[in-house]
């Protein structure tokens, strides 16, 4: 279960220790690439109990229900394991966001299977689509299920515990030779959505493809992502949560924290370390250490949200 430094003795986590952990988690150690990222469901639960006014929500991404190739012949099974871990959390998170690629091929049966498993967490889920969710012939299955109340191809915003959440769609109308795409209509909506908002209100933006330029050679970035970020320049706390690249990647730039979550289906190689970004086959006993979810913790008065990546195993 937990192998966090401060928690190796099991249950007896004092409040003081938890606060130590939180301080540590909030001050930079988390903002490294991939390795050395702490992960402990126990930590999340205890921390939330200690700071009840905050907000903890979960990010799940790239479940690719329907994927059955060598890199993971049972993507539905590992999604179920991830949901099982979420169900077992000692303190229930407020809700979950899913950053896209719910399905592998946008088949009705894949959407149904995903819904059946994810709903077992008994949490509200805020979805945005990945490119794999928009490939049915009529491009309607995602929107029928998750498009209600959204604008354009599925973008929207909502507030929770004083935090403003914005779900963006950057997998539609991508241009040849380009990257992810938000488009003029969505950017205009975003400008309007942010207008008149207090700059002290924390902003959480989530979208499938990274809004920042992770590795354009593999298409890992968003053509007009910088324009979206420009609109948020004046805000004191901006957290950008993405999926798509099936690995943890983090960066802090001024007031903006960028983070990508693991997939629950299969890992992808680190930028440039393989001939292509395709599914990465690893030893069976290593797979679950590369799959997982993320917990995001907001504490009033703290500029940065803490993000804790939890693998399915290890």
């Amino acid at each position: 279960m937990s192998d966090h430094d401060h928690n190796h003795n099991g249950d007896g986590v004092s409040r003081r220790k938890v606060l130590e952990c939180m301080t540590w988690a909030g001050t930079g150690v988390l903002w490294t690439i991939s390795g050395g990222v702490p992960h402990s469901l126990g930590l999340v639960g205890s921390a939330q109990a200690a700071e009840a006014k905050g907000l903890t929500f979960l990010q799940i991404s790239d479940s690719h229900v329907g994927f059955d190739k060598a890199a993971n012949p049972n993507a539905l099974g590992t999604l179920e394991e991830a949901i099982g871990k979420i169900k077992a959390m000692p303190v229930k998170p407020s809700f979950m966001i899913h950053t896209g690629d719910i399905t592998h091929l946008s088949k009705a049966s894949e959407f149904d299977d995903a819904e059946r498993i994810i709903s077992q967490a008994r949490l509200d889920v805020h979805y945005i689509p990945g490119e794999h969710d928009f490939i049915d012939e009529e491009i309607k299955l995602y929107r029928e299920r998750y498009g209600r109340g959204t604008k354009g191809s599925g973008w929207y915003s909502f507030d929770a515990n004083g935090v403003h959440f914005i779900g963006l769609v950057n997998v539609v109308d991508m241009k040849a030779g380009g990257l992810g795409n938000l488009g003029a209509e969505q950017l205009a909506w975003l400008a309007d959505d942010l207008k008149g908002r207090s700059s002290s209100q924390p902003i959480v933006v989530f979208a499938h493809i990274p809004l920042w330029s992770v590795y354009p050679t593999w298409g890992w970035g968003t053509e007009d992502g910088a324009r979206a970020l420009d609109l948020m320049k004046g805000f004191g706390s901006v957290t950008v949560l993405n999926g798509h690249i099936h690995q943890v990647m983090q960066k802090v730039e001024g007031n903006v924290t960028f983070h990508t979550a693991r997939s629950t289906a299969f890992p992808q190689p680190a930028p440039g370390t393989a001939p292509s970004p395709g599914p990465m086959k690893v030893a069976d006993d290593k797979l679950r250490t590369l799959l997982g979810t993320a917990s995001i913790i907001f504490k009033p008065g703290e500029e940065r949200l803490a993000i804790i990546d939890t693998p399915l195993q290890g």
Partner: protein, 109 residues
């Protein structure tokens, strides 16, 4: 093999019709291309008018073959194929609408 014969007959018929209506369709070739490691291979192909190009996806990830306003495949899962017959000359730039950094071109002469 019976299939091939049928096909040849069909092509002969097509050529005959074309000749009868004085349209210079001399080639009815079949050319194949692959999609492998998020790459169209070969990235550029030169073919004669009338050629049918068939793309086969060998990746574990779906791709599409799209040339704006010209042709558009559905999402091709692993081992799925898509064919398009080029009936007029020109440069056909195409890309994968799911992974737009994947681009290719067919030159039809």
């Amino acid at each position: 093999m019976r299939f091939v014969n049928f096909r040849t007959a069909g092509i002969r018929l097509a050529v005959a019709v074309a000749m009868a209506s004085q349209i210079a369709v001399a080639h009815c070739e079949e050319v194949s291309a692959t999609i492998d490691n998020f790459t169209f291979e070969p990235a550029q192909l030169t073919v004669k008018v009338g050629t049918t190009v068939t793309w086969k996806n060998s990746d574990d990830i779906p791709h599409t073959v799209v040339s704006a306003g010209k042709f558009r495949s559905k999402a091709l899962d692993t081992d799925d194929s898509y064919s398009f017959t080029f009936t007029s000359t020109g440069d056909y730039k195409y890309f994968c609408s799911l992974h737009p950094h994947m681009v290719g071109m067919i030159k039809v002469e």
